[in-house]
């Protein structure tokens, strides 16, 4: 405005001034017009209707190239009841891993929802997680419902693509079938303290190991857990937890062979109690993990089971016994793992993991009865074997969104044989930037 007046006043004095000013303001006007067009284009794009509310979608692509000295299809953890999960080592040769599709968004101001679907290399879709979670309960409470990774243990809640090794620790394979994701409800409460103190309880239908799919009203599996955590200086963060999972499996069946090598069916009904103690410690200089950092993690599992064991070989054409047997069964078994992963320079990490399971004490009423199958007819449950495994890995991440890993392992899961495994794995994530759990 001021310049306009000035120009008007100067009009009488000097015409060239107006001309110069005119050229300048034409340029400015043109600039403003162009900017306005851009803003309008941006606003139009923003207000593009329904797609503006699309949830965050990310997709994980995984695959392996594996070599193993023993057949992965014949994998078992001798001395431990099969958990029914996909716990075997990676298939030999080149193989696609599970592709995970993750869709999440706030549902409204009160709820958030998330779906994690795994497209398996066998061309099936598995729902790993599909849950809602409250946002507005307040006072430290959060309620989750649907199917979700249980809050027990440490690694259980971490999605497979974020694991530091290609496969799960042996204790997870033996006691939880790889991971525990029941259909149910979870309530968490976070204490209003500077120290992180969290308590949670879950009730579920008990659709999978250590429970078994059944048709019954009421919950089939219960769990409670407590987590504590905090910082030690600026460089170190930690979390420790204690969890308890209770299940009442009915006819939890699995296949074994008898002393003649013929297939038989065994099933367990009773009570299963699992305790897990876990800790994780992360260190980075001044808390800046960009160049070097260290992650130390370990968990201890202990399981007590008691109930009845059924033994049935009638499915064979020439059965050894031809009549079902039933007897009391009790076991107390444990296991642990410890792993360390160190990033020694940007992009590069190395890791070591050691797994150990303890056969513990197993009492088998059928064998003790002496009327039918003997210890040799229970090669899986009756062989006192302490499985162990040592793994090492090195991985390279081109960016936050890609990772290529070389992993070797010496696996003594099976009694009497050592499986030497070498594999290369890739993990790529596309789409929305996911947030990873501590």
């Amino acid at each position: 405005m001021a310049s306009k007046w000035w120009c008007a006043a100067a009009l009488a004095v000097a015409l060239p001034c107006v001309r110069a000013q005119g050229v300048e303001s034409d340029k400015l006007r043109e600039e403003v017009r162009r900017l306005q067009e851009r803003v309008q284009a941006v606003e139009k794009a923003r207000a593009a209707g329904e797609s503006a509310f699309n949830p965050a979608i990310s997709l994980i692509l995984q695959g392996t190239a594996a070599h193993s000295s023993q057949d992965p299809d014949a994998y078992q953890i001798t001395g431990f009841a099969p958990s029914g999960g996909e716990v075997g080592p990676a298939p030999r040769s080149l193989s696609l891993g599970e592709s995970e599709l993750i869709v999440s968004a706030n549902i409204d101001p009160y709820f958030r929802g998330q779906l994690v679907a795994a497209l398996t290399p066998e061309n099936e879709v598995e729902v790993e997680e599909a849950f809602f979670q409250t946002l507005m309960l307040g006072r430290g409470f959060t309620l989750k419902g649907g199917r979700f990774l249980s809050g027990i243990g440490y690694q259980n809640e971490i999605h497979q693509h974020a694991w530091d090794f290609q496969d799960a620790p042996l204790a997870y394979k033996a006691f939880l079938g790889g991971r525990f994701n029941d259909d149910g409800l979870q309530l968490r409460w976070l204490a209003p303290t500077d120290l992180f103190l969290e308590f949670g309880a879950e009730a579920g239908r008990g659709r999978a190991f250590p429970s078994a799919e059944r048709s019954a009203n009421g919950a089939g599996a219960w769990s409670v857990f407590a987590h504590a955590g905090g910082d030690i200086g600026a460089s170190t963060a930690w979390r420790a937890g204690l969890s308890y999972l209770y299940a009442e499996p009915e006819n939890r069946a699995f296949a074994d062979v008898d002393s003649l090598g013929n297939p038989v069916t065994q099933s367990f009904s009773g009570r299963s109690k699992l305790w897990i103690a876990d800790f994780v410690l992360k260190w980075a200089p001044a808390g800046n993990a960009a160049v070097t950092n260290l992650k130390l993690q370990g968990e201890y599992f202990r399981r007590d089971e008691s109930g009845t064991l059924d033994y049935d070989d009638r499915a064979q054409s020439t059965p050894q016994f031809g009549t079902p047997f039933s007897g009391t069964f009790a076991s107390r078994q444990s296991g642990w793992y410890l792993q360390a992963v160190y990033q020694f320079m940007p992009r590069w990490r190395v890791g070591l993991r050691f797994d150990q399971l303890d056969y513990g004490s197993v009492s088998n009423g059928i064998v003790a009865g002496g009327a039918g199958p003997a210890a040799a007819d229970f090669p899986l449950l009756g062989t006192p074997h302490d499985p162990s495994r040592a793994s090492a890995m090195v991985d390279w991440s081109a960016s936050e969104f890609s990772r290529i890993r070389l992993q070797v392992a010496e696996d003594d899961s099976r009694a009497g044989v050592t499986d030497r495994q070498v594999l290369v794995q890739y993990v790529f994530s596309l789409g929305a930037h996911g947030a990873h759990k501590f």
Binding site: V42, N106, P109, R112, Q133, L135, M136, L137, G138, R139, G140, F141, T142, R188, W189, L190, A191, P192, T193, D194, L195, F196, L197, E198, H227, A228, G229, G230, D231, A234, A237, W238, R239, K282, A286, G287, N288, A289, A290, V291, P346, R347, A398, S399, E400, F401, L430, H433, G434, A435, H436, K437, F438
Partner: protein
């Protein structure tokens, strides 16, 4: 009934308690302290030596978010890798996205380098624009205005206190901005090499030129091939200095500076990044004096 009233009274936050502020980064923690004075209790989730984009949802952060009345973050996807988890696990209804207790500086600031389209092949770009917006003092002034209103809303009893402190801050800030702009006049059009595109607002404000970036793409660590190409490029079009922020690895910047015979300059980037950068004013004082020192 009496119990219900008792429970309701528990719900009305204790009036004597200070406003609990959870700041994602040191600059917003410092601003909340400027505006909140002794009425606000400010917790800062990250330090100047940490990359705000690469923080984990640590238990300690979740525990602090649980008690916060107001979360003050940058937004523009800077904290996307950890803040959503902290909020989801906090069990705190006040600070969820969309609530008055959730504040993002980017909502009040003017963002630059807004990409027309995004693709991960471009590196770690942000759809809403460059999120390192606090090194333009005009942005800080805009954010201060919006934040003071938010604090006044969250703590209505002390509303006038925050508004008054904001006015006083704005006056001091305007004066300081003019002082910095005068002092930084020799920096106009000076070409510099940066480590990450975290100084773009500073460069735009002072009229400096970006002659190169150590990262081949935003968020990717500098590679030897890219550094070698930069050396060649600097022979053609020389720069005056190589600059990196306190939280980034100094080695690539030092190496390039040595190769190209340029001064290597460490900038605090945010409050606490250097010994002198103790608050927002000192952050700008120190940043400009370090740049000027490298010109001599």
């Amino acid at each position: 009934m009496r119990m219900l009233i008792g429970l309701l009274c528990l719900a009305c936050a204790p009036a004597w308690a200070a406003l609990e502020v959870f700041a994602c980064t040191p600059e917003w923690g410092a601003l909340a302290r400027e505006l909140g004075g002794d009425k606000a209790n400010v917790y800062t989730a990250t330090t100047a030596l940490q990359n705000p984009h690469r923080i984990e949802a640590r238990p300690s952060l979740i525990a602090r978010a649980r008690r916060a009345d107001l979360v003050v973050c940058t937004g523009a996807e800077l904290e996307i890798g950890w803040l959503p988890l902290v909020l989801a696990q906090s069990g705190n209804a006040k600070i969820q996205r969309g609530q008055p207790g959730f504040f993002e500086a980017a909502s009040a600031a003017r963002l630059i380098e807004v990409p027309a389209g995004v693709d991960r092949a471009m590196g770690d770009v942000h759809a809403s624009g460059n999120p390192h917006l606090h090194l333009d003092p005009h942005n800080v002034a805009r954010v201060a205005k919006a934040l003071a209103q938010r604090m006044a809303g969250a703590d209505a009893q002390n509303a006038s206190y925050y508004v008054e402190r904001e006015l006083a801050f704005q006056a001091r800030w305007r004066e300081a901005t003019a002082r910095w702009e005068r002092a930084a006049a020799p920096l106009k059009n000076v070409p510099i090499v940066v480590h990450h595109k975290d100084l773009s607002y500073l460069l735009a404000w002072l009229g400096m030129r970006e002659a190169g970036v150590l990262e081949p793409k935003p968020g990717l660590p500098p590679s030897t091939a890219h550094l070698a190409a930069l050396v060649a490029q600097l022979q053609q079009a020389p720069a005056r200095m190589v600059v990196h922020s306190a939280y980034s690895d100094p080695r690539p910047a030092d190496w390039l500076a040595q190769q190209a015979k340029l001064p290597s300059v460490l900038l605090p980037f945010t409050v606490g990044g250097t010994e002198r950068a103790t608050d927002l004013f000192a952050l700008y004082d120190d940043t400009i004096s370090r740049l000027l020192a490298a010109m001599r």
